[in-house]
Structures are given as C-alpha cells and as structure tokens.
Subunit: 451 residues, 2 copies
C-alpha cells in the first residue's frame, strides 16, 4: 500500500468506528477512488458494503473496477440488486464488461438483466469480442461529430457530453454512415478560431485499429505515436469505439507478466496469487511432468554411456556444470531474443543475423569458460585428459546453447506463436540432452583413443 | 516495420530517386514522425541526412528522438553544426537530455554548446538527475498559472503556450514561490463558466512525485490514478516539471525488459542488440563464470559421494532430472514472485503467506512428480529402492525449491534491492547444490541401511 492509501484506511476505520455516517460520507466524497480501492480490501465485508453504499454511484463504480474480481462478486451480492445495478450502470461499458466477463455465466446474466436495456445491449456486444483484442478493451463512450460543424459547435458538443465520455481530448469526425473520416484534438480546437470548420483543421490520415487487432499490437501503436487514445473501426472502417492510454498501461503490464511467466513455463491469465493452491498446482504440474520426461531423455543418454562413467567416476563431478553452464547461457539468449521481439528491437526477418550474433558471443564466452573449467578440472583431479574433455565439451555445448536459445523462439515467432512459449525450462531441458550427448561422446572417444 | 512505415519507405525512395526536392518536402510535411523514424534506418546515411535536412526542425527533432542512439550521433555529425543545433533546440529538454545523456562526455558537451544558453542550462540541470528518476524523465515544459486567474484567462494562457508545452491537458496552480498548490484539467476548464476563478475549481489534493523518486514508482502512480501527467516537485514542494503518460509507456517497457533480462542474469541498460559482440560477451561472461564455480560446488557434493555413485551407477542416470525438475520449479516460483512484486499483487509484508502458499503448491506438485519418477525409475531399472530414493529426493528438493525461489527475491526486496536480481540461473545453481546433497545423502543412507 502506498502512504496515501494507508492514510485513507486509518481515516475509514476512524469514521466507521465513530458511528454517524455524515463524516464518512463527506470523507468519501473527497478521497481518490484509487486510494479507496487500495484501502478497502483491508476492511471486512460488512464494512466494505457500508463504505460502498455511502459512495456516490460513479465513485463506487470506479472503486469496484479496481478491486479483485472475486471480492467484487461478494460486494455486489451484499449491496443488493437495486444498488448493484445503479453502480454497474455508472461504469463505462468496457470496464463493466471486464468485470462481468470474468464472472460465471449465470451471475453475469443476472447482473446484465439488472442493468438498463441499452447498457446491457452495448455490453452484450462488447462481451462478444475477444478479451485481448481492441474490441475487448475499447470503450464505446467517445465524442464524434460531423465534418460540417464549426470549432465552437464542436467545443459546445464536448461540453455537453464531457460527463459521459472517457476522454474529451480527441474529437472524431464521422460521415453519415459513421465511417471515420478525421480526428481533431482538443488542443487543436482550443488553438483554432471558433468559426473555423472542423473539416478544415481535422487530420484526415487517422491511424486506427481494427476491432479484432490483438491488444499487444494496439499498445505498440499507441506507444509508437504517443497517442492518448486510438479509434477502433470495423472492416468497413466504421467507428466502433476508442482505446484510451490508461487501458494501454494495463495491457503493457499484463503482456509483460504473460511473457515473464511464459518464460518460466507458466501459462496463467489473471492474477496468479488470487488462485487457490490446487489451481496453481494444476497449472504448473503438467509442464513440470513433461519436463521430467525430457530430463529422463538426458538420463537415458547417460545410461547409454554408463561404461564410460563406471570407468571414470570423476566425469560425474562435472555433470552439473556441464548441464548448468550451457543451460544458463541458453536462458540468457532466450531472454534477450524474446524481449527483443516484444519491444520490436529484433525484427522477425533478421533471424540469421541474430543467431549469428549470439553464436559469436557464445563462442567467446564458451572458449573462456571452457579454458577456466579445463584448468579447474586439471587442478582438482590432476588429469590432463579430463581437463581437455570438460573444457571442449563446455565450449561446444555453450555454442549450441546460443543456437537453440535464439533459433527456437525466432522460428516459433515466424509461425505466429508467442516466442515466450519457448520457455527457459523447455530450452534448458533440451540443452541437458545435447550437453550430456556431447560430454559423454567426447569422453568416450578420448578414453578409447588415449587411455 | 508496420504497414504504414513500409509505405512511407517506398514513397521516400520514390521521391529521393525522382530528383527535385519539392515533392519530398511536401511529403515530409504530411508524414507522421513515428512512421518516418521507422522507415529512415533503411536508407543510407547520405539519404537520411537529405531527408532530415528537408524536414521542419520540429519534425526532425521528433524523428531523431525515435532513432537508435548511435545513428543519431552520425546523423547530427552529417547535418552540420548549425542544422544540428536548430533541431536540438526544437526538442523538449527531457528528450534532448535522453539523447545527449547516452553520448560520450565530449560529444555531449559539443552539442550542448551548440544549443542556446537557456536551453543548455535547463538541460545541464536535467542531466544532473539520475536517468531513472522522476527528474531524469520529466519535462520542464508545462503550463502553470496563479490561483487568482479566471477560467477564461487560464484558457487564454493555454492558447498562448500550447505550441511550446508537451501537454495542455493539465494546468498546474502555483503560488508566488512556485509551490504546487493545485491542479485543474483542461476538461474541467472547458466545463466551467469562463468567469469562475481557477482557485474555486482546482483540486488542492494534488498527487505529485519527488524529483528523486524512482521511475518505476512514478509509473505505478500514473497507472494507479489513470493520470495523463504527474507533477514533479522538490523537497520544498516547488514545481520542477511534469512526467507525461507517453514517457510512462516507455518506462514500463524499459522496466519489463530490465526484469526479464535480470531474471536471466543479464544486467543491461539500453538496447542489447545495438551493442557489439565483445560488449555483449563482456556483460554476460562474469556471471556465467561465477555460476560455473557455483556448479562446481554441486560437483564437489557429488565427488564427496563418489563411493555411493561407484556402487550404484544408475544414480547418475537420474541426476539431470534431479537437478532439472527442482530447478524448473524454482524458476517458476521466482518468476511469479518477482512479477507479483513488480505489479503490486504481492505486498512486501506478505512474505510468509507467499512462501507458505508456494510451499503448499510445491508439496502437491512434488508428491505427484516424485510418484511418477519413482514408478518410472522402478520400471526402467527394476530396483524398488532406487525408485524410492529418486521419488523422495525429487519431492523434497521441489519443496525446498519453492522456499528458495520465493524466499530469496522477497528477502532481497526487503533490503530495497530489485528482486529480479535473484535471477533464474543463480537460483537454479543454488538448487543444484541442494538437490545433489539431498539425492546422494538419501541414496547413501538407504544403501548403507538396506543393501
């Protein structure tokens, strides 16, 4: 909790204990919804309901949107149907959809039926777009005007609609069939003379996104052009809604979380720590078991060389280094490539250049690491040949680690799959097989030849 | 490249080939700077210089800011001092500082001396704040007014300064000594009657950040309150600048990159792929060597149990699984905890609850994985005792992996260190030592007792 919300929590407790509701009501009018939302979960459900009941419906809506989804369901339940409907109607449709979209079908329909017919229809429409598309994150509350309005008329229009829309900083210009034909910012309106026609100052080359565009792509466009909002259109270029920059901040956070968890081989949507132990274990177990069998493949390689291992037990002492070193290098390569692809620093067509660059790095790193390990092995075990085997094996495995760590994410990205799915555990397990194969093959070769 | 920039690139090539510059100049007036910045690197340096020379200085500044830093240095060089100074002066001070901050001291000072005295002073000041603090990313171009202005006067003031400031959507209210006393949004100004006093509609509880606040914290505040900009103040609460939401988008991307690379044990600022092979190898080698010695610790554990290993060679077949499985689980735990801390889902004081939760998950996962491995080992090697040893060791190691994977990042976070520094490779190397110790201790115990 930030210092602000701590302060808010203390005051809430004070007012709740004090008895009469007037002080609490006044305090709730002044407090910022974001602070309130952070403090609220620290109260018990009865207190939460009391607080929400005393909030203005619009503030209550803003607070509910920030809370954990399962808390919201309990709260709405506790508030009673009439009050719950009042609050839901105050939410912008995209937020309400976010909230209801995560509820079970049954509850969702009950709440939808509580809302007004028009709102429910808007929302039913929004619910049909994929949650991670432009349609899923857009709001339908924006300002659109016809091209023949004057600047003054447009500003008056803004004044009239401002309380109901998410951003008044862009005014979109549409034709008779709602096709998007231009955009003008409030900044430009303010700077123009009141009698100018909107058509004369609007920009006609409007960057827009299709309703089915992936949210990650929408985020990239907003970031690229430094937009405060981007219009969403259908296939006929009709304006359907807008995505605002505050939602883009959430998208960026969500996508970074998805990538970080995917890199660790966890596929999880929503908030991980909100899920129960069984759900968390259920998500993680299947892949861990698959990787277990992957690890047994490497074990099988070792078993095939058990004669070599029996002859030279010291080979076992270097197995963790031989698996770990190249595994770490592969993890690093994977991370830089996956992140490079996500930020656009690596362009998908540069596959070969990226792989070659990483191989060059690995060659350097591998030779130095190999020399160090060779020296350590010789110093520790007093065997020159053992030093040569571990040194060369480590260097070779590291070079192959760079190839696998860069090639796999780049190639699956080519096929339109999220490169982060080539997770670290998957790559290191694959590397274990390669490293053991190289290590024991070389050891067997040297042993048969020189010992 | 997005479709837009491909189109821009084609047109640029067309106009460059066509000869007369008038068409190109007209095209450059219309094109969006972000598209131009994406297309430009595909041209050769002479062409780039020609294009930038024909751009309006303000557009040239916006384009330069988007380019890779080393390209910018070459371009500024090629443009000549006079034109370079013209363009740099058009940049907002925070962007110019970003650009010059990454140049070598000598070049930086040459470019600073090219700029006007006032701008250079502003920038010198900005350069003194850490690049990852509020001061480092703020702009000094904002609109501030006195509280006794009317709404109409404030709007007039906005009109006058709009071309020079980054955002006109917030007007900050200051007293005679520049202390921040309130804020009013353009939305509120537009909605109020022109004769109202700013003091009557401004919000006085302004959320602000200190000039030394870390950029990650600034991003969190902007995201929490859905701000378009947040004011930056000094210790006496004097207004120094603002951080706008478009810079926050960059911060979020930067911080996610930093976390992903740190989790893979790479400490890298700036763009990784822009660095040469030697720089990349130099960044990665030291830690890989440290981890190599970490791996040798695990090897040392194995060496201490070489009698056991010689007696039962089959133990070696399960070493990769025994190191890999708990390593993967630790990597997953680390990822969810580090990400949870970054997004605020995990609150720093919940250390114990988080660890216990993850241990419960690992216990479930460990028992199932252990049973599977025990069965596989028995089926493969036909030894009941071997199955018991590998099964119990795997389950135990996985539980310990959950403790280490959650405890280490939580504890270093407590000491104010970025939890992502508890990287995957570091954690898995530590786990290797633990797993080998458990595995061989248990095997030795069972062997001495039952065989």
């Amino acid at each position: 909790m930030t210092p602000n919300s701590k302060d808010v929590l203390e005051k809430l407790r004070h007012y709740l204990a004090a008895g009469p509701t007037e002080g609490l009501r006044r305090f709730l009018r002044e407090v910022h919804y974001a602070d309130l939302a952070e403090a609220l979960p620290e109260l018990n459900l009865a207190q939460q309901i009391k607080v929400i009941r005393l909030c203005e419906p619009s503030k209550a809506a803003a607070v509910l949107y920030e809370l954990d989804r399962k808390e919201v369901a309990a709260l709405l339940e506790g508030l009673g149907e009439w009050r719950a409907a009042l609050i839901l109607r105050e939410m912008s449709p995209d937020d309400a959809v976010d909230l209801l979209g995560e509820m079970p079908q049954e509850e969702r329909e009950r709440f939808l039926s509580l809302m007004g017919a028009a709102e429910a229809e808007d929302m039913q429409e929004l619910l049909e777009y994929g949650p991670e598309t432009a349609g899923g994150i857009m709001t339908t509350e924006y300002v659109a005007v016809r091209r023949d309005l004057t600047v003054q008329e447009a500003i008056d229009r803004l004044r009239a609609t401002a309380p109901d829309v998410e951003t008044i900083y862009y005014v979109f210009v549409v034709d008779g069939e709602n096709h998007l034909v231009g955009v003008v910012s409030l900044r430009e309106l303010i700077l123009s003379s009141p009698s100018t026609r909107v058509a004369d100052i609007m920009r006609t080359e409007v960057v827009s996104v299709n309703v089915r565009t992936d949210q990650e792509e929408v985020a990239r466009i907003v970031a690229k052009y430094d937009f405060l909002a981007v219009p969403v259109v259908d296939d006929e270029h009709r304006l359907l809604g807008i995505v605002t920059v505050d939602d883009i901040l959430d998208v960026l956070e969500e996508e970074a979380t998805e990538d970080i968890l995917r890199l660790a081989n966890i596929e999880y949507e929503g908030r991980y720590f909100e899920a129960g132990v069984l759900a968390r274990a259920g998500k993680r177990l299947p892949w861990l078991v698959v990787l277990l069998f992957g690890g047994l493949l490497a074990g099988n390689v070792i078993a095939n060389f058990s004669a070599t291992l029996s002859a030279i037990t010291a080979l076992a002492f270097f197995m963790t280094v031989m698996a770990g070193g190249p595994g770490n290098l592969a993890t690093q390569t994977l991370a830089v490539v996956v992140r490079g692809l996500a930020t656009g620093e690596v362009r998908p067509r540069e596959v070969l250049a990226v792989i070659l660059g990483e191989v060059e790095v690995a060659t350097l790193v591998g030779i130095v690491s190999g020399l160090i390990l060779a020296f350590v092995a010789y110093a520790w075990q007093g065997e020159v040949l053992l030093g040569i085997v571990v040194g060369i094996s480590l260097a070779l495995s590291m070079i192959i680690a760079a190839v696998i760590g860069s090639f796999v994410p780049l190639i699956i990205n080519r096929f339109g799959v999220d490169p982060a799915l080539a997770s670290g555990p998957f790559i290191t397990t694959l590397m274990d097989v390669c490293s053991m194969l190289i290590y024991f093959s070389l050891a067997t070769f040297i042993m048969n030849r020189f010992i």
